[in-house]
């Protein structure tokens, strides 16, 4: 109980803050649907890119929201204040996980519905696995977001990290070219990027491409990324410096 002290108040606060911020809420709910619609209008065979859109969106948005959310906590001094309260660090991080996890779930539903409606996506291996992948991807992004926010002095810099942290993953992670076809010096970096496994998992779940083993590898890798990035996040928010 003491281990997770503060979890529920923090999760509740994260969600209240989002509710108080209408524009962000719009960004979370409306924009993914809008972009999926645009994709459906541009691509003649949108089903070939659908799984990538589904994979990258939640990851990307969770990263932005947590990086900026946590940065604001740091710069406004609320983080320090929460740490002065009877809260455990793991409770604080778990609160974030719950709050943003719920948000990621809502976003996954938006993506799911708009994917089915605009892109005629069918799920070869079931919707449950889709949600599991989305959630693991979001939690990994959450950990990365918290970590990156530590290196950013302001919101502008947190956004500036996108080309460094997110874009290479999207370019190399099997989006444009299968990872195994990359030159060897790019293949290895791609193998340690979460988005690679997110795309690999979605290929299996949405397109039915690859073996069951590929899915297990993807889930295992994302699970490991989640654990590592949340562990790093808990260390990052340590009380005393």
């Amino acid at each position: 109980m003491t281990l997770l002290r503060g979890t529920l108040p923090v999760a509740r606060r994260v969600l209240l803050s989002l509710r108080g911020d209408r524009r962000t809420l719009g960004l979370v709910v409306v924009v993914p649907a809008f972009i999926i619609y645009l994709v459906s209008e541009v691509f003649t065979r949108p089903e070939t890119v659908a799984h990538i859109m589904l994979a990258v969106f939640v990851f990307f948005l969770t990263y932005i929201l947590t990086a900026i959310g946590f940065l604001r906590e740091r710069t406004a001094g609320t983080l320090e204040r929460v740490l002065a309260a009877p809260v455990s660090r793991s409770g604080l991080v778990t609160g974030y996980v719950l709050g943003y996890g719920l948000l990621a779930t809502v976003q996954s539903i938006v993506l799911l519905v708009s994917g089915i409606y605009f892109l005629n996506v069918t799920f070869e291996h079931g919707v449950e696995l889709f949600f599991l992948l989305e959630l693991l991807g979001a939690l990994t992004a959450l950990g990365i977001g918290v970590l990156v926010s530590l290196f950013a002095e302001n919101e502008f810099q947190a956004i500036q990290f996108i080309p460094l942290v997110i874009t290479p993953q999207v370019i190399l992670g099997g989006t444009f070219m299968p990872v195994e076809d990359l030159p060897i010096y790019l293949e290895y970096p791609a193998r340690v990027m979460p988005v690679t496994y997110l795309v690999q998992g979605m290929e299996y779940v949405v397109l039915g491409r690859g073996e069951t083993a590929d899915l297990w590898i993807a889930l295992g890798a994302l699970g490991a990324f989640t654990v590592v990035s949340l562990a790093v996040a808990s260390v990052v928010v340590r009380r005393a410096r």
Binding site: L8, P9, A84, A240
Partner: protein, 259 residues
């Protein structure tokens, strides 16, 4: 029920940030309900001292204890009895006043939360703005929201970092009345300020300069000892006695901030 432990004890505390020494061997022992002012110009080490006390910074050397527990190993039970208001805004702008205070009440697991939240909000005189978003409030109101968050769990040890900055004189007077009320109820209040005029309102004042304790005594004793009429002059007299002529920073501070 025995009286709660309200004590703060600091022993030979040092804290360095790279080549800068923010605290240079600070000692302080306070036990029992009273208002202790931590005064000194900007950069004297007031905030560093407060952050070390709360276990938010680890000391380079020496130690600090709050409620007889080392700051770095304060348990949840200890933290429940401590209130903290930082120099930063430290409230959530996207939330209303009530939501902010309620969030901290939940963190501190306040019993009968609704009543406690209402009481804290009315204490800082924001009842009629309770459901306004913080981003719609003036600077002074934001400070008061922050104070309400620090008070909602009725702490025994209250640590306030420049709580009255940016407040108008009337409001400042109200806040000091509030602090005295808390003290009379048995709380120990440590309050930092760079307005020396305010320090006279404390029971005891710790003068910090360049991370060192210049003096620690009751305000009236300072005046007596230095033969001065106000704490500003007393501070300058103490500096001279210390063999250190006030430097340019202090001059600026005395004219501008200490005025």
């Amino acid at each position: 029920m025995s009286a709660p432990d309200v004590s703060i004890s600091v022993t030979d505390l040092r804290r360095e940030f790279g080549s800068v020494t923010a605290l240079d061997g600070v000692d302080l022992d306070v036990d029992g309900p009273r208002i202790v002012g931590v005064a000194g110009p900007n950069g004297a080490g007031k905030t560093t001292l407060i952050r070390v006390l709360l276990g938010l910074l680890s000391p380079t050397a020496g130690s600090s204890r709050v409620r007889a527990t080392d700051s770095l190993s304060l348990k949840a039970e200890d933290r429940e009895r401590i209130g903290y208001m930082s120099q930063d805004e430290a409230v959530y702008r996207d939330l209303t006043v009530r939501e902010n205070v309620d969030f901290f009440a939940r963190l501190y697991r306040v019993a009968d939360r609704a009543t406690a939240v209402d009481r804290a909000i009315s204490f800082v005189g924001l009842s009629d703005r309770a459901d306004d978003r913080v981003s719609d409030l003036s600077g002074g109101m934001i400070r008061r929201t922050s104070l309400a968050c620090a008070l909602v769990h009725d702490p025994d040890v209250l640590i306030l970092d420049e709580p009255t900055v940016g407040l108008d004189p009337q409001l400042r007077a109200t806040m000091w009345d509030a602090f005295r009320e808390r003290r009379d109820d048995g709380a120990l209040i440590l309050v930092s300020t760079h307005y020396l005029g305010e320090a006279t309102r404390c029971d005891e004042v710790l003068f910090l300069r360049n991370g060192r304790v210049l003096a620690y005594d009751a305000p009236e004793r300072f005046l007596e000892e230095t033969g001065t009429d106000d704490l500003e002059d007393a501070f300058l007299a103490l500096l001279e006695r210390d063999g250190e002529p006030p430097d340019a920073d202090d001059e600026g501070a005395t004219e501008g901030v200490f005025a």
